[in-house]
């Protein structure tokens, strides 16, 4: 097969055309493959957190906890929602740049910032829950084990999140490096 044949095949590729109605549906977030999942997660988590903040004072003895523990829990949850909203806005924003190389560089910076804020906030939010539930309690062996188990679970979640971000950033760095190859020499 000659390269000129490839040009012809490239130009002829694609017969399975979509209708304007199908394309219109694709412009809506509600039909977006990943953003709709992120939005649903954001809505469910926000409702659940607001519900928890509304009832925790009675159900989890907030009145018996010191002010700092209550404050830490509220701030932790608010940070969590803020982080979700920032992530959602950031993901839905178009990838901008006058060319592919610049777009990738800008996007890499955006994802780096997002990953740092996401991991820090997940850490702070986890600490805030631990502070609330461990304040003014008498530790027994069982309670200590539950705390240890919770810390292990939280650490695993943070590690998983970190791994996902690292993989994405590594791939973007690779692309940026690839576009800069030969240009620097």
């Amino acid at each position: 097969m000659e390269l000129n044949d490839l040009k012809l095949d490239w130009k002829n590729a694609g017969d399975d055309l979509k209708s304007e109605a199908d394309l219109r549906l694709m412009t809506k977030i509600v039909n977006h493959p990943s953003i709709k999942k992120i939005r649903t997660k954001l809505i469910i988590e926000t409702i659940a957190i607001l519900f928890f903040l509304f009832v925790y004072y009675d159900w989890f003895d907030g009145d018996k906890k010191p002010f700092y523990a209550n404050l830490s829990l509220v701030v932790g949850f608010v940070l969590y929602i803020v982080n979700d909203v920032i992530g959602y806005i950031s993901i839905t924003r178009p990838i901008r740049g006058t060319n592919l190389k610049l777009s990738l560089q800008n996007y890499l910076m955006r994802i780096k910032r997002l990953s740092i804020s996401s991991v820090i906030i997940t850490f702070l939010y986890s600490i805030s829950i631990i502070i609330f539930f461990t304040s003014v309690i008498t530790f027994t062996k069982e309670k200590g084990l539950i705390l240890l188990f919770s810390i292990v679970i939280v650490s695993q979640l943070i590690l998983l999140s970190l791994r996902m971000w690292t993989k994405w950033i590594k791939n973007l760095k690779l692309q940026v490096k690839d576009f800069n190859l030969d240009e620097e020499s």
Binding site: K7, A13, G14, L23, P33, N99, L100, Q175
Partner: protein
């Protein structure tokens, strides 16, 4: 604005289709990427000032999206080291054997090579390829020579 946008994308949707086939292996991932690109085009349409050709704008957004967005690790059943001789055109409705072979070969290139060769195959000149990718014109030439040799090796 929506009507005008839909007409443009409808007319140029083959570009989006080709980028999806080039950068994703499975049909499901290609469909997801198609939707993602149309969404990104719609979001960036208000800032499209028509200083460049519509096809240039679509290529820029489509390539950005295909390369940058997060990809789940999946083992694809559509990826073959060797050209799958058993694939007959009738296996994929309306897709010719030449097209299957073309994308099989192009998918063996890395992401930046795919971007450069797709623009070349679409008949963009070196200056236009340089503007879309951000590479220098001379680098586009060097890369294209390298990619063409690579493709010859793959397809021989």
């Amino acid at each position: 604005m929506e009507k005008e946008f839909l007409e443009i994308v409808h007319e140029h949707q083959k570009i989006v289709y080709k980028i999806c086939r080039l950068y994703r292996n499975s049909r499901e991932d290609q469909e997801d990427l198609f939707q993602e690109i149309v969404y990104q085009l719609w979001k960036s349409y208000p800032s499209f000032k028509r200083e460049s050709k519509v096809s240039t704008w679509i290529y820029r957004v489509a390539l950005n999206t295909a390369i940058a967005i997060y990809r789940k690790s999946k083992i694809s059943i559509d990826y073959f080291e060797e050209f799958p001789e058993h694939i007959h055109p009738s296996d994929e409705k309306t897709i010719s054997e030449n097209e299957v072979r073309l994308f099989w070969a192009l998918r063996k290139l890395n992401d930046s090579e795919k971007a450069v060769i797709s623009l070349y195959l679409e008949d963009f000149n070196y200056k236009e390829i340089a503007e879309i990718t951000g590479l220098s014109e001379s680098n586009v030439g060097v890369r294209l020579t390298r990619i063409k040799n690579k493709l010859k090796q793959i397809l021989k």
